[in-house]
C-alpha cells in the first residue's frame, strides 16, 4: 500500500494518525495500549547525523533564494539512498541539497519493532541573510556554508539552509509506502523480516520458513519438487495444510493429484523476499482454504537500487546466475530479478535445472498506489527417491543411490497480478486481481514392484513397476480485496475491515503407472477435469476497549463449488462380458455384463464453511504482551472424492493458543522474545500413504505443544532462535502420528563488521551467517524412531562495493543424515524373493556442498 501525507511541520502527529489509519504506524503514546501496539506499528526515521548544504555561490552572489524538497529512502540500516527531487528549486539548489542529504544518517523507520525502509521528504529552504549596510558588505569570497539547519537560525550574517529536521529525534514528514499488514494475532503470528539473516545460506525461498518456529522442511522428490513442510505437529506434505501466498497471489494448487493444495515455492527467488508472515494456526479471518496448520505470506522487495549480477559455482557442478535490478528513484517494491540454476546433483539421479523471473512495479498516482507483479518459472529435475535400509546395510545400494532412474519431474508457473490501493478519508481500499498458469509433473516410485497385482480381468503379467506419474495443468484466476477503516470511540482507536476473496481453478490432473521395462503407461489411476470455485468474505475487528486490552477477530465464510469430470470413472467390472472383455484397459466402458456406459462421470456439489477467529492481547506492563487465540480453519476436499450432490466434506481444524511476547529496544538493539502453548484438533487428518505416494485422508487427531522464539537484532549481529515441542496423536488410539517431529530447534545467526581497511576509500565489510537445525527423533510407524538430524549451514562474505564475494557451505560438517525416514513395505527386486513387510527406508540428506558467488552491483546504492 502507499500512504502519502502532505507536507506539514507537524508531520509527526499527522504521520502517526495517517499511518495508524493505514495500519502502518502507531502513536508513540506512553500508554500500555501503545506498548501493546508498538510491536506492530511504525515509527518514522529519526535524524542522527546531518550535513550542511552549501549555498550555491552563484545564487548567493545573485542573492537568489529557493526551496527544495527531496524525497529519499532511508534503508533498514539508516542510510540515505535513492534521492529524488520532489520539489525543485533550480538545478544548483537541487544539487546542493542532494549533496548534503547524501551525508545524512538516520535511525531507520520501524514497523512492528523491526527496521524497515522508509521513503521520506526533506525540505530545504535556502534563505539569504538581510543585506548588510554597504560598508559592512561581505565580499562574495568563498562559498558560504550552510550550517546544519536549525530552526530560526537563519543568521544575520550567514546564508542559511533550513530543514524541518532540527535536532535528533525530531520527526520529519515521511511518506512510507508498504503493503498494509494485518494486525498481529498473538504469539503465533510471526512477521519475519529477513534482513541480515539473508546471510544464512538458503537454497530456496521455502527455507525462509525456518525462521518461524516449528517448521521442518524435507524433500524426497528432488530439487524442483515442492518441499514437504512440517509445521507445528502437522505433516503438511507439500502445502496441503498450509496456505501459501506470494505478494498476495495464492501458491496452493487446487486439484493437484500429488496433493490437493500442493504448493511449489521454488519459483520464488530468495533474494527478492523482503518479509514473510507465518501465522501458525487459523487465527486471522484473512486466512482461507488450506490454512489448517497455518499460513505463510511472502512479500517481495529488493532493497538495493541499481543493477546487480551474481554468478556462483559450486560442488557437483552447481551453477547459478542471478540478475537483479532496482531502478533508482523507485521503492524497494519495484525491481526485477532473473535466476538460472543448474546442478548435476549429489549422488545418482539428482540433476536439476530451473529458471525463474520476477518483476514488480509499484507506482503512485496521488493517494493511489498501484502495483503490477509478473512471474515466470520453469524447472526440470530428477530425483533419487528412497533407499531401503537393509539394502544399504547389505551393500546392495549406496547411501546416495537410487532404484528408479525414471523419477523426477518438471514444473512451470506463470502469473500476473495487479493491485490498487487507495484512500478515501479514513478508509483504505485495496483490490487485487491475479491469474496463474501452472503445470507440474512428478514421477516417484516409493514401493518398487509391489502394487501391480494381477487382476483377473487383465491379461497375465508380472509386476510392471510402481512408478507413479502425476501431471497437473491448471489455470487460476482470482480477486481479493478489502476496505479498512479506523474510528475513535471511547477515547481509543478501533479498526474494522471487510474483505473478500474469490478464486476459480480449472485443473486437469492425471496419474499414470509407468512400466519399468518400457517406460510406457500401463494403467490410468486418475484422470480428472476439475472446476473449483472458492468465494470467501470476511469481517475483522480490532477493538481496544481498555488501555491494556486489544480484541481482534471476526469470521470468515467460504463457499466452495466443485464441478468435476472424472474421465476414468470405471476401473473394474463386476461381471465381465465374454464378448466384450475389459482386459487391460483402465478406463472402462462397461460396469456389469458388458452393458455399455461411457467411462466418464460428472459430479457437482458445493459446501460452505463458517470460520470464527478471535484473539485477545493483554499488555499489563510495557513491552510485555500476553495473547490468546482461537480459530477454525478448513481444507477443501480433494476433487477426486467429490460425489454428485453429496455435501462436500471439509477437513477442519480448531486451534487454540496462549502465549506471551516481550519486545524491547535497548540502545539500538532490538530484542523480541515469544513463547506459547497450543492445541489443534483436526477432524480429518492427512496421513502419508506410500502406496498412493501422497497423503490420504485419515481420522481425527490432536496436537499439543509449546514453542519459544527469540530474535536479537543489533548493529552487527542478527540472531534468531526458535524451539518447538509438539505431541501429535490420533484421537481414537492415542498413538503418535508418524513422521511428525516432536522437537525442532533452529538458529540463524548473522554477524557483519566493517573492517578497519578501506581500500581506495571504499569500506570493506565482512560478514558471516550460520544456520543450525536440530530435529529430534521422529516417530515412525511400528513404534520406531528416526535418527536425530543436526545440520550446520554457513557463509562468509567480503564486500567492497560494488563487489561482494561469498562462500557458502550447506551441511558444513558433512554429516551423513537421513532427511526422511519411513517404515512401510516395498519390493525393489533387490532380494531374491519379494519383500512384503514394512522395513526402514530413507531419503538421503545432501552432503556438504560449497558454492562461491561473486556479486557486482552497479549504478545505484541502497
Amino acid at each position: 500500500m502507499s500512504l502519502h501525507k502532505p507536507t506539514t511541520r507537524r508531520a509527526a502527529r499527522h504521520l502517526v494518525l495517517a499511518l495508524a489509519a493505514a495500519q502502518l504506524a502507531a502513536p508513540t503514546r506512553a500508554t500500555a495500549q501503545a506498548q501493546a501496539q508498538a510491536q506492530e506499528d511504525l515509527r518514522p526515521p529519526q535524524v542522527v547525523q546531518r550535513s550542511e548544504a552549501i549555498y550555491p555561490p552563484a545564487a548567493l552572489a545573485e542573492r537568489r533564494e529557493a526551496s527544495v524538497t527531496l524525497e529519499v529512502t532511508v534503508d533498514t540500516s539508516g542510510r540515505v539512498g535513492d534521492p529524488k527531487v520532489f520539489e525543485s528549486g533550480g538545478k544548483e539548489f537541487d544539487d546542493a541539497a542532494m549533496a548534503a542529504v547524501s551525508q545524512w544518517a538516520f535511525t531507520p523507520a520501524e514497523e512492528s519493532g523491526k527496521p524497515v525502509a522508509a521513503r521520506i521528504r526533506i525540505p530545504f529552504a535556502f534563505r539569504l541573510p538581510p543585506l548588510p549596510p554597504p560598508e559592512l558588505a561581505t565580499p562574495p569570497g568563498p562559498p558560504a556554508t550552510a550550517r546544519p539547519p536549525a530552526q530560526g537560525e537563519a543568521g544575520a550574517e550567514h546564508p542559511a539552509v533550513e530543514t524541518p529536521a532540527k535536532q535528533e529525534g525530531e520527526e520529519l514528514e515521511a511518506t512510507v509506502r508498504g503493503r498494509a499488514r494485518p494486525r498481529s494475532r498473538g504469539a503465533s503470528d510471526y512477521d519475519v523480516t529477513v534482513g541480515q539473516l539473508s546471510l544464512v545460506p538458503r537454497k530456496t525461498a521455502a527455507e525462509l520458513l525456518k525462521l518461524a518456529p516449528g517448521i521442518l522442511l524435507s524433500n524426497e522428490g528432488g530439487e524442483g519438487h515442492a518441499n514437504q513442510v512440517f509445521l507445528r505437529g502437522f505433516d503438511a506434505r507439500e502445502g496441503q495444510d498450509v496456505e501459501f501466498s506470494v505478494a498476495g497471489v495464492p501458491a496452493n494448487q487446487v486439484g493437484n493429484p500429488h496433493g490437493n493444495g500442493y504448493a511449489d515455492l521454488n519459483f520464488i527467488i530468495p533474494e527478492v523476499v523482503s518479509s514473510l508472515r507465518v501465522l501458525e494456526g487459523p487465527y486471522d479471518p484473512r486466512q482461507g482454504n488450506f490454512a489448517v496448520a497455518g499460513s505463510a505470506e511472502y512479500e517481495l522487495g529488493f532493497e538495493e537500487r541499481g543493477v546487480g549480477l551474481q554468478v556462483g559455482y559450486g560442488s557437483y557442478a552447481t551453477r547459478r546466475v542471478l540478475a537483479l535490478w532496482g531502478p533508482p528513484g523507485s521503492s524497494s517494491r519495484t525491481f526485477g530479478a532473473a535466476e538460472f540454476y543448474e546442478t548435476d546433483g549429489f549422488g545418482k539421479n539428482r540433476d536439476a535445472t530451473r529458471g525463474s523471473a520476477i518483476g514488480q512495479y509499484e507506482g503512485h498516482l496521488g493517494e493511489t498506489t498501484y502495483r503490477l507483479t509478473l512471474q515466470g518459472y520453469s524447472a526440470r529435475w530428477h530425483s533419487a527417491g528412497v533407499i531401503r535400509e537393509d539394502d544399504l546395510g547389505a551393500g546392495r545400494k549406496a547411501f546416495f543411490d537410487t532404484y528408479d532412474f525414471g523419477q523426477g519431474g518438471n514444473a512451470t508457473r506463470f502469473s500476473v497480478s495487479g493491485e490498487i490501493e487507495s484512500r478515501s478519508g479514513s478508509v483504505v481500499y485495496r483490490n487485487q486481481v491475479f491469474a496463474i498458469l501452472s503445470g507440474a509433473r512428478s514421477r516417484e516410485n516409493t514401493t518398487g514392484f509391489l502394487l501391480d497385482v494381477q487382476d483377473p480381468q487383465q491379461t497375465l503379467h508380472t509386476q510392471r513397476g510402481d512408478l507413479i506419474d502425476q501431471s497437473t495443468s491448471a489455470t487460476t484466476a482470482g480477486i481479493r480485496g478489502f476496505a479498512r477503516t479506523s474510528l475513535d470511540a471511547f477515547g481509543r482507536r478501533h479498526e474494522a475491515e471487510l474483505g473478500y476473496f474469490a478464486r476459480y481453478d480449472v485443473t486437469d490432473g492425471t496419474q499414470y503407472r509407468i512400466e519399468a521395462a518400457t517406460n510406457a503407461p500401463y494403467h490410468v489411476d486418475l484422470d480428472l477435469h476439475s472446476q473449483v470455485a472458492d468465494i470467501g468474505i470476511y469481517g475483522d475487528l480490532s477493538l481496544n476497549p481498555l488501555s491494556w486490552l486489544t480484541l481482534r477477530g471476526g469470521a470468515r465464510l467460504d463457499l466452495f463449488t466443485f464441478d468435476i469430470l472424472n474421465r476414468c470413472a470405471v476401473q473394474s467390472v463386476a461381471h465381465p462380458s465374454l464378448t466384450n472383455p475389459p482386459l487391460d484397459a483402465s478406463c472402462l466402458d462397461q460396469e456389469s455384463f458388458g452393458a455399455h456406459r461411457e467411462p466418464v462421470q460428472p459430479a457437482t456439489t458445493s459446501s460452505m464453511a463458517f470460520l470464527p477467529r478471535v484473539s485477545a492481547l493483554v499488555t499489563p506492563v510495557a513491552h510485555l504482551t500476553f495473547s490468546g487465540s482461537y480459530g477454525k480453519g478448513v481444507r477443501s476436499i480433494d476433487p477426486q472424492f467429490i460425489t454428485q450432490d453429496v455435501k462436500t466434506p471439509f477437513a477442519s481444524a480448531r486451534s487454540i493458543d496462549l502465549g506471551a511476547s516481550y519486545t524491547r529496544d535497548l540502545a539500538g538493539t532490538a530484542l523480541a522474545l515469544r513463547t506459547g502453548v497450543f492445541e489443534t484438533k483436526v477432524d480429518k487428518d492427512l496421513i502419508f500413504s506410500e502406496s498412493a505416494g501422497r497423503n490420504v485422508l485419515g481420522g481425527s487427531s490432536t496436537r499439543r505443544g509449546l514453542l519459544a522464539a527469540a530474535r536479537l537484532t543489533g548493529g552487527f549481529l542478527d540472531e534468531s532462535l526458535n524451539v518447538t515441542l509438539v505431541r501429535a496423536t490420533f484421537d481414537d488410539t492415542g498413538l503418535l502420528i508418524p513422521y511428525v517431529p516432536d522437537l525442532v530447534v533452529r538458529s540463524d545467526t548473522s554477524v557483519w563488521r566493517r573492517l578497519p581497511w578501506s581500500p581506495g576509500g571504499v569500506p570493506l565489510v565482512a560478514s558471516t551467517g550460520v544456520g543450525v537445525t536440530f530435529v529430534g527423533r521422529r516417530p515412525l510407524p511400528f513404534g520406531d524412531r528416526s535418527d536425530r538430524i543436526v545440520t550446520v549451514d554457513a557463509s562468509v562474505s567480503l564486500a567492497r562495493r560494488p563487489v561482494r564475494l561469498a562462500l557458502t557451505a550447506t551441511n558444513l560438517l558433512d554429516a551423513q543424515y537421513r532427511l526422511g525416514e519411513f517404515n512401510y513395505a516395498s519390493d525393489f527386486h533387490s532380494q531374491p524373493a519379494p519383500t512384503l513387510v514394512p522395513v526402514r527406508h530413507f531419503t538421503a540428506g545432501a552432503p556438504r556442498q560449497l558454492m562461491l558467488t561473486l556479486e557486482v552491483l552497479l549504478g545505484g546504492g541502497s
Binding site: 537393509d390 514401493t447 509391489l450 502394487l451 497385482v453 494381477q454 487382476d455 483377473p456 480381468q457 487383465q458 491379461t459 497375465l460 503379467h461 508380472t462 509386476q463 465381465p576 462380458s577 465374454l578 472383455p581 475389459p582 482386459l583 502453548v677 502406496s691 499439543r704 505443544g705 509449546l706 515441542l725 509438539v726 505431541r727 496423536t729 488410539t733 492415542g734 498413538l735 503418535l736 502420528i737 508418524p738 516432536d742 522437537l743 529430534g776 527423533r777 516417530p779 515412525l780 510407524p781 511400528f782 513404534g783 520406531d784 517404515n823 513395505a825 532380494q831 531374491p832 524373493a833 519379494p834 519383500t835 512384503l836 513387510v837 514394512p838 522395513v839 526402514r840
Partner: protein, 260 residues
Amino acid sequence: MRRARMLLVLALCACGGTGGELVTFHAAAAGPADSVSGQPFVFTNALGYQVTLTRARLHIGGVYLNRSVPSSGSQATSCVLPGIYSGQVTSPLDVDVISPDAQPFPADGEGTTDRSQTGEIWLFGTAVDATDDRTVLADVAGTAVQGTGTPIEFTGKFTIGQNRAVPVGNPALPGSSPLCKQRIVTPISVDFALAQGGTLLVRVDPRAWFRNVDFAQIAADPDNPAQRKFLDRSQGQPDLAFYGGLRAASGTYLFNWQSP
C-alpha cells in the same frame, strides 16, 4: 497449570509410540520331527504303500506370514495383497525334509509384531510371477511297496512353470489363474505374534506329498526302465497326487514359533 506441566513433560520426554514394532527373527526349516537324521524316512501312505524315502529335498523360495484370515473367495485372484504381511523370510533354502534337524535360512526373517494368522510357503526359483521356471522345487527318490508286492523304485523332480499353467476357463478373466497362485502354498494356519530374536521353524512333512500317490501308476523312466519316474506334468494320478500334496496347506507344512 497441571495440564501445562504435563504437556511439557510429555513433549520433553518424546515418549509414546505409533504402535507395533519391527522385528527380526531367526528362521529354519526341517523335516518331520519323527524322522531320523541320516536315515531314510519310512512311512505308509493312504493307499497302503510303504514308502522309504532316501532323498527328499524342497527348494523354498520364501516364507511369509500375514495378518488376514482367509475366507472363501477372498484371495481368488491376487497372489499378493500388499499391506497384509506381518513376516517374511526372503532368502531361499534347499531343505532336506527327511532330516529332523533345523536347517537355517541364509538370512534372518523380518516382520512386525502384528498377530500372524496365515502362513505361506512360496515355491519358486527365479520369480514368483515368472511366466516359466525350470527350477527343481522338489527332488525325491525312494522305494514304495504295497503289501508283498514288488518294490517300486522311483525318482521325481518337480517344477512349477508352464507345466502347471491352468488354462483360462473364462476369456473375460484371462488373469484369473496366474502361475504365482500355483507357487504359493496358502493358507497355512498359524496364530502367533513375532517377537524380536525369536525363531520360526517350518517343518515340512513329505508324507503328505505321497499321501495319495499310486506308485504303480508311475511311468517307467525311459533312461532307466528299472525305475519309475514322475513326469512333472499336470496329468496322471501320481503326478497330480504328488503335486496336490506338495501344495497342500494343511498337513504338509507346520509353522512353529519359538519366542526368544
